[in-house]
Symmetry: C2
Subunit: 304 residues, 2 copies
């Protein structure tokens, strides 16, 4: 008997409505139906009486409910006891994130985690943000700090930490600076650009220009947002990076933000957050990390 199904049962026992309970649980109604069916078939008793228009607990259902509550309590107690153990939780945590994330958001998460779970071995790998999702999907990393992609793979869960817009930047060193120094409307098809060769930023930029029917003049395609900053700083053209990357870089006072092209709708901002596999939500120490981030996030929200 699966502990998860106990939760399904308990929620349904409360709502007495499959659709509603399923929604609360974040599963489809058919999944809930089959969870209940499975318990019933294991026990050999119907737990609910599905009447014409009503769902209510059967006698056996009441008995099982008491048991399920008890089991739930036992589980909570177990976790309490374990939390009080002097040996802290163990395990490995493989984190992948971009350099920027590593400098900006990660420290705020890692410090309290490290303090709370000193027994967890942390493996931190930095790399191009464009690779983040695949690292997780391939199991190379357990979790990543990344921008939520337009289509989150179904195996993943995502928890937003902050949002940051994509900004167009240029350098005063740029020999072509006269192309866009004035306030007049800019001709983006003539301005040399330094773009990420792939990844979410590139997709959004491409999408924006495509809608305008403009083919941007690409001077260089590079891998890694930081590389864009370096090249823009050398005067190779206009770059596009998440504002956060600029802010956290050594270039933040050497580069300027340009007004964005007049896209039909502004480029969606980067929604940066924690991403991991659904499966790992029940695994330690991933669950711990997730919960910690959640609590930090909520704390921040409450303060607003």
């Amino acid at each position: 008997m699966e502990l998860e199904q106990y939760r399904h049962f308990l929620v349904l026992a409360q709502t007495l409505h499959y659709g509603q309970a399923a929604q609360n649980l974040g599963v489809s109604a058919s999944t809930l139906t089959r969870s209940i069916q499975k318990i019933e078939s294991t026990l050999g008793h119907a737990l609910f009486i599905r009447d014409k228009r009503s769902v209510r607990l059967s006698q056996a259902g009441h008995v099982f409910r008491a048991h399920a509550l008890e089991a739930d309590k036992g589980w909570a107690e177990l976790k309490d006891h374990l939390a009080q153990e002097n040996d802290s939780p163990t395990g490995d945590l493989k984190i992948f994130c971009s350099v920027t994330a590593c400098y900006s958001v990660l420290p705020d998460l890692l410090a309290p985690f490290r303090h709370a779970y000193p027994g967890v071995q942390i493996h931190l790998q930095t790399g191009d943000a464009a690779d983040a999702m695949s690292k997780v999907l391939d199991g190379v990393a357990d979790l990543t700090i990344t921008a939520v992609p337009d289509h989150l793979p179904s195996r993943c869960v995502f928890n937003s930490i902050l949002k940051t817009p994509l900004v167009f930047i240029h350098s005063a060193n740029d020999p072509d600076a006269d192309l866009y120094r004035e306030d007049q409307a800019l001709d983006w098809s003539k301005i040399p650009m330094v773009l990420p060769e792939r990844g979410l930023a590139r997709e959004r930029i491409d999408g924006g220009f495509a809608e305008l029917g403009i083919r941007p003049k690409i001077y260089a395609e590079v891998s890694g947002h930081e590389a864009i900053l370096a090249m823009v700083n050398l005067g190779f053209g206009v770059g596009v990076v998440p504002a956060l990357v600029l802010e956290k870089s050594p270039y933040h006072n050497m580069l300027s933000i340009l007004p964005s092209p007049k896209f039909s709708k502004p480029l969606a901002p980067y929604d940066v957050g924690l991403c991991m596999l659904k499966r790992d939500m029940s695994r330690s120490p991933l669950k711990q990390f997730w919960d910690l981030v959640l609590s930090l996030g909520n704390g921040g929200m409450d303060e607003i």
Copy 2:
């Protein structure tokens, strides 16, 4: 968390030996390893200390053991409570068996079951014993009374109820009776035979003759043991059926048993028993039926 894994843990906690525990549990060592790993990763604590030469419970392991025992007890209590409910267990039970089994072994099983679980709807279907296994594998039937095949499909479990040998039978009406009436060695390549067209009996007979290098003279191939009796009784030749089938038939005093051919080893007797899917061992009312048969069988064993 899977209740099944609690059992894995508890057995290992007792034996402190993976191989042994796995054997007790009827799973491979790797499965046991991964069960424990999964619990550990869910809890975030190592449950066992795998030392140089020893496996012993960690501190967290002791805590979890208390919890697991508690959960186990809770589960047992739940089943007690449910057993005392006035509404008896419900469910469907689709049984497939041969006519002979239906006459011979089934009543002894069905009667006490019916008495113990009046709420279970029983669907009984009879047919050729050769189909029994596939009916179960295809989900057409939940369980069957049949002879254990030489290679039990891995999805199935089997519980022996009785053994009965394959016997060669003939009728006094047979015009060819002079071929085998005397005590002398019989020439099986000349004796007309009535054989099942397929199924375990046929395989064994074919195998036996093949080893002797004899090609039996097949007069008729029929489907269903009972049909063999009918045809043998009409004097069409020598038939082969499980002794039980003969005993339970209306022909039992009209047909005679011949000495079996001198096979290199005697044909393996039919091992008749209860067969169902492993998967259903945890489902109701199949588990109940299985347990009941088990208890009856043990009762019988003890009396000897």
